[in-house]
């Protein structure tokens, strides 16, 4: 089975702190994604990556950056956390084919105080 592991299920941070959310997949998938999920807003794409060191902005990239130094790992970085970044963050991976489905991690619930 494909496994996508997010390093932290629950985090509490203070405004202004730098936050790292880590995601690792074990299926050699080319594509990886970071979403945030908020009630009433569904899933919104923050960034995605289709290859090592390659990244593209999603729909809401402001306030976030990403890093993909190795194929299996995709990190989301909040340079200076703000309260409006309190959310559930979901990482997903997908094989390179357009027909492929996404495999999600369990999510990281971030609270910024």
């Amino acid at each position: 089975d494909v496994k996508v592991t997010q390093s932290s299920r629950y985090l509490v941070k203070r405004t202004g702190e730098k936050v790292f959310l880590e995601c690792v997949q074990d299926m050699d998938h080319e594509n990886m994604f970071w979403y945030r999920q908020d009630p009433g807003l569904g899933l919104r794409l923050i960034y995605f990556s289709y290859d090592v060191k390659m990244k593209e902005k999603g729909d809401i990239p402001e306030g976030y950056s990403v890093s993909r130094e190795k194929k299996e790992r995709f990190s989301l970085i909040l340079e200076s956390a703000s309260t409006n970044q309190t959310s559930m963050y979901l990482c997903a991976s997908q094989e390179g084919l357009r027909t492929g489905e996404l495999f999600f991690g369990e999510g990281s619930r971030l609270t910024v105080l």
Binding site: Q6, L43, A92, R98, L102, G107
Partner: protein, 118 residues
């Protein structure tokens, strides 16, 4: 603008009854269609997808979905609901546009909360 609509925020059904969760889309061309399920405090899990071929697609946990091209719909169905089916269901569409970035991006519905009552 391209969009996916799940017209019902919540669906309530009695255990043992058939269930339908609706999804319609407004996307050019012949997109790929997906359903995902999310249990409380968990990530999303893939249920099924339509790529091409038979309009009725069967997936995990006894779910199926019917693709209707003329109505641009992809409704999720199950003949007999279980209490354990209670969850949040998301419809997603991948437009087929020959641009590398867009081929990887999904358009998501806002989700439908399914409650199956014992």
């Amino acid at each position: 603008a391209q969009s996916v609509a799940q017209p019902e925020d919540q669906v309530n059904v009695a255990e043992g009854n058939p269930l339908t969760v609706k999804c319609t889309y407004s996307v050019s061309g012949n997109p790929y269609l997906f359903w995902y399920v999310q249990y409380p405090n968990r990530g999303l899990q893939f249920l099924l997808k339509y790529i091409t071929g038979d309009n009725l697609v069967k997936g995990s946990y006894g779910f199926e979905a019917e693709f209707n091209k003329s109505q641009t719909s992809f409704h999720l169905k199950k003949p007999s609901a279980l209490v354990s089916d209670s969850a949040l269901y998301f419809c997603a569409v991948r437009p087929i546009i020959f641009n590398a970035g867009n081929n990887r991006k999904l358009i998501w519905g806002l989700g439908t909360s399914l409650a199956v009552n014992p």
